[in-house]
């Protein structure tokens, strides 16, 4: 029997949602055959089995959140098991310790902060989930009545879970985070392979080797206790090793032997009794990642069930639902609408069509609008900001990552043009085409949908005069662009035909006042109306 584990899904991704199984119990699978689709933050990843065999048991149901490294499938290895399968089993006898301790976690508690101080406010985490931390490394900053204190972890491991958020008031002795294993063996390598992974669009290709290592290295539970060599602890090398392998800190054990020697029995009984390692308190349900707000969950009571179809709300749809609900609940939205003369813009765009084609791309209005937007938010930095509610702070961003809403068969996604201010319109055009195509194919990497500082939604190509979009939290504004239409106007006393385009700017009213938004739109329109003005500001 071989356990198939959920491999690493990407940098910083610790869990994913099971979208569907592609195999069922009894199926014979080949090595590298896809067995499941897992959705991470935004990308759907195909998970292959590294070995061949017969599916014995599927351990999760669609919609469930699965942590990386969890066993997802039990496979009965067939005769055709591949090399990697045999390697996996070959490792087992040599690492019995790893096998027994692989699931152990260590709780890190908030230590005493000072005399009479019983609690403190979490200012920030100084580590991230998935980080490998050393013993004594600072993991958090806690503010007490008088001072901000750096809280170290007493043991090394990999950060598994934060129990509190910034701004939470934490009582001394509360568990603040949990650590697992020792070295995060694969997180680090993954971080650097992005460049190479780019060729294959998801991280699934690297899943198989990762998996093989995982079985041998998910290891070292507990802590890496300091060596006794430097202390005056008396114990034989064999006893010291035993203690380490059992996760007992020998430095803290009273020795019952001659002259205070810590004996083998001392170590064994320490493990039986109150060992210095506390196991994780079984974290039960895992949250779906983003907001842990409590929204009411009213049931829908069918009155005509026969004519209704029920589909599980999972995958991207569920993610969209959560994000929209959270954004609308957190941000007081308001929207300003207006139209602008784009006659010149249309002319300019038409004039570069051939040029763009020669350069192997297609110029749409979106990249030009993006440039105008960047030029405008440089004048109005509050539009390129976020509100850090936990710390009651406004975060102004000095970089310009522009998200654009893309419609896909699976639903709305927002790919991001990173550092769009540093790219030419031609470059942005190419990137938009590439990202849009991969968005439709569901092949975007999570990273490509992260980090936007403001978003543009463009439903003009479909229709509608105006819309009131929802801001992509934690951003504070979203620009809407709509259809271009011919419109008659009276110009210098004469009837003339011009081209107009409708825009909306939707903003977070906590940060942006109505008049500011109006000025923003005015400045933006000046650039759209007269692209020459925009060109003056281009770098």
């Amino acid at each position: 029997m071989t356990d198939i584990k959920l491999p690493e899904l990407g940098e910083g991704v610790t869990e994913g949602e099971l979208v569907k199984w592609l195999v069922k119990p009894g199926d014979t699978v080949k090595a590298d055959q896809t067995v499941a689709e897992i959705m991470t933050d935004k990308a759907t990843v195909e998970v292959p089995t590294p070995v061949a065999g017969t599916v014995k048991e599927l351990l999760f149901k669609p919609g469930q959140i699965i942590k990386v490294e969890s066993v997802i499938v039990k496979l009965e290895s067939g005769a055709a098991a591949t090399a990697s399968a045999t390697t996996t089993t070959a490792h087992k006898p040599s690492t019995p310790v790893a096998a027994t301790q692989s699931t152990a976690t260590v709780d890190v508690k908030l230590p005493e902060l000072g005399e009479g101080v019983t609690e403190g406010e979490l200012v920030k985490w100084t580590v991230n989930i998935g980080d490998t931390v050393k013993a004594d490394q600072t993991v958090a900053e806690i503010m007490t009545d008088k001072a901000t204190v750096e809280v170290p972890t007493p043991v090394a491991g990999v950060v598994k879970e934060f129990k509190f958020k910034k701004g939470d008031v934490i009582k001394v002795e509360s568990v603040i985070l949990t650590l697992s294993g020792s070295a995060s063996t694969t997180a680090q390598p993954q971080a650097h392979t992005n460049g190479h992974a780019a060729k294959s669009t998801t991280t699934t290709t690297s899943a198989a080797p990762t998996l093989m290592m995982a079985s041998t290295t998910a290891t070292t539970a507990a802590g890496i206790f300091p060596p006794v060599a430097d202390s005056k602890v008396l114990a034989t090398p064999a006893t010291r090793r035993l203690a380490r392998e059992m996760g007992v800190d020998i430095n803290g054990l009273p020795g019952s032997g001659l002259a205070g020697r810590v004996t083998r029995e001392d170590v064994l009984s320490a493990k039986g009794g109150s060992a210095s390692v506390t196991k994780g308190t079984g974290t039960g349900a895992v949250s779906a990642g983003t907001p842990t707000m409590n929204f009411p969950k009213p049931a829908y009571n069918s009155t005509n069930a026969a004519l209704e179809e029920r589909v599980d709300l999972v995958g991207i749809r569920k993610k969209i639902a959560q994000n929209m609900q959270m954004s609308k609940a957190v941000i007081p939205h308001f929207t300003l609408m207006d139209e602008v003369d784009v006659t010149q813009l249309v002319a300019i765009r038409d004039s570069v069509k051939d040029f763009a084609e020669k350069n192997g791309t297609k110029i749409t209005y979106l990249p030009i609008v993006m440039k105008a937007l960047i030029a405008t938010i440089k004048e109005f930095p509050m539009f390129n900001a976020s509100i850090d509610d936990a710390n009651s702070q406004i975060v102004y961003k000095k970089y310009f990552n522009i998200g654009f809403a893309a419609d896909t068969p699976n639903g709305l996604v927002v790919p991001v043009i990173k550092n769009a201010d540093q790219k030419t319109i031609l470059e942005i055009s190419k990137e938009i085409l590439d990202l849009s195509k991969r968005a439709r194919d569901g092949k975007l990497k999570p990273d490509e949908m992260k980090g936007s500082t403001i978003t543009i939604t463009n439903i003009g190509s479909v229709g509608g005069m105006y819309a009131t979009p929802i801001i992509n939290h934690p951003e504070v504004a979203i620009l809407g662009m709509y259809k271009i239409q011919d419109k008659p106007v009276i110009k210098d006393g004469q009837l003339a035909a011009i081209k107009v385009m409708n825009y909306t700017i939707t903003a977070d009213h906590r940060l942006i006042d109505g008049a500011v938004a109006a000025n923003f739109l005015k400045s933006f329109f000046a650039k759209i109306q007269n692209p020459g003005v925009l060109m003056m500001g281009l770098t």
Partner: protein, 482 residues
């Protein structure tokens, strides 16, 4: 492009041991070596120097002890340096070949070439046949150290030599100046002297091996070396050299005055430096300290969690056996076993005449650690039957124990086979043994090992084979605090 679970860079006593243990644990393992398998230790360090020392020790015995024992050699002994050097080389080749067989037998892929980190994920390996990329999930850096070069004494390895060049001399130099009286300089100087070379050791400190070994042990060696005819210049700084009509003139500064020493060869043995500046270690963000050692934690993990460093490259002491210990440890850590570097002592040996070996702390180190009440005593080899019968009576075994608990803290040996005797001391210290544990263990007679038992007895105040003051109850274990 080749892909491995673990790639070890460097095949010295750290690297090849790490590779073998990695393979034993089931990892797909490769080892990269740019020169000969076995590294400095097997090829230009520990092993060849021991071969030379053994041969010249025999020569010395033949010249000095044989006559007393009634063994007369007619016409004297002729040293054929070419044969001696090629025999030495055959010893190295045998060892290096053995490493190759062990690696092969464990299915470790041996890659010949120079490795440079391209990213933290992959290495570029340049060899005579081209350039290849090697990827791995884990890397173990075991690239060791190299002799320190000092200004004005650039190595040509013919006349101005590091240990590497000196070990390859195929004629007996008439005169040698050794700059640096550390263990490497002393080992080579001692055997050259036995071959008849006029040796001058230039040492910046005021004594030999200062700060490295127990000062009393160093004294025994210094005295015997002086008697053998080695010249010592203490408190001397080598300022430069120039080519003279015959050989070289080395200028040294002693007490502010320059002195010129004429010589044929110059041996510079002022220490070794870690190779932290190679293999593009820093280029991919692996942190080193200001001396070039890679910074590691107690698991020998670098700041990049899937890259480890072992041996000379990760810190003192730069000793082969420390590297091997770390190599095994790191492979096991990667396999998931919870280990850290947790040795109480790294025994050290110096193959001078007589040998020096130590385990545990010196008196000064004990004091620094807060052991204020110490028991210290010595037992001389001159009182040991086997040593006398070997005609090797210089030296002693010195023991240091905590007076409260009698727990052994340090053992320092200078004398015959000190290198082989020290392992018992290392075991005793790791086990947390007390003086009584050593004293009450029956040691076979007649052996040099008896000196360990006797030294423990002497430290307790009641050795049999030396005259000690009346016991006054000191032999009763009950006086020891539990």
């Amino acid at each position: 492009m080749q892909n491995f679970d673990i790639v070890v860079i460097g095949s010295g006593p750290g690297g090849y041991v790490a590779a073998i243990r990695s393979a034993q644990l089931g990892f797909k393992t490769a080892i990269i070596e740019k020169e000969a398998l076995g590294g400095v230790c097997l090829n230009v360090g520990c092993i060849p120097s021991k071969a030379m020392i053994t041969a010249t020790h025999l020569l010395h015995k033949a010249q000095h002890d044989f006559k007393t024992m009634g063994l007369n050699i007619k016409g004297g002994i002729d040293v054929d340096m070419k044969t001696l050097v090629s025999w030495k080389q055959s010893v190295c080749d045998k060892m290096s070949g053995g490493v190759n067989q062990l690696l092969k037998g464990n299915s470790v892929t041996v890659i010949k070439g120079t490795a440079d980190f391209k990213t933290t994920q992959e290495l570029t390996v340049k060899s005579s046949t081209g350039t290849d990329t090697v990827k791995a999930k884990y890397f173990i850096i075991a690239t060791g150290s190299r002799p320190i070069e000092i200004p004005g004494f650039a190595f040509d390895e013919k006349d101005i030599c590091s240990s590497t060049g000196a070990l390859a001399f195929d004629t007996i130099p008439k005169r040698v100046v050794t700059i640096g009286g550390g263990y490497i300089g002393l080992e080579i100087s001692s055997y050259l002297r036995k071959l008849g070379t006029e040796v001058t050791v230039v040492e910046a400190n005021t004594s030999l091996l200062s700060g490295v070994v127990d000062p009393e042990c160093a004294q025994v060696v210094a005295r015997k070396a002086e008697k053998a005819g080695i010249q010592f210049k203490f408190g001397a700084k080598a300022k430069g050299q120039k080519k003279a009509k015959d050989g070289y003139e080395v200028t040294v500064e002693i007490n502010g005055k320059d002195e010129v020493i004429k010589t044929d060869k110059i041996l510079v043995t002022v220490g070794r430096r870690p190779n932290g500046d190679q293999a593009n270690i820093k280029g991919v963000g692996i942190q080193t300290d200001d001396r070039g050692f890679i910074k590691v934690d107690a698991q020998r993990r670098t700041n990049i969690s899937h890259i480890f460093a072992i041996g000379d490259i990760c810190g003192q002491p730069m000793l082969a056996h420390k590297a091997s210990h770390e190599g095994v440890m790191v492979a096991e850590i990667i396999s998931g076993i919870n280990r850290v570097y947790d040795a109480k002592t790294v025994p050290a040996v110096v193959f001078t005449d007589p040998e020096i070996a130590s385990a545990g702390m010196t008196e000064a180190e004990c004091k620094a650690k807060g052991y204020n009440d110490l028991m210290i005593s010595k037992f001389p080899f001159a009182a040991n039957g086997r040593a006398v019968s070997m005609s090797e009576t210089d030296g002693f075994v010195k023991m240091i124990a905590d007076k409260k608990t009698h727990i052994l803290l340090g053992v320092h040996i200078v004398g015959p086979e000190a290198s082989n005797l020290i392992s018992e001391a290392a075991l005793a210290i790791e086990m947390g043994a007390r003086l009584e544990d050593v004293a009450l263990t029956i040691h076979p007679h007649p052996t040099l090992g008896e000196t360990m038992m006797e030294a423990a007895e002497a430290t307790l105040g009641h050795a049999i084979h030396i005259i000690q003051k009346p016991l006054g109850g000191a032999h009763k274990t009950a006086t020891v605090t539990k």
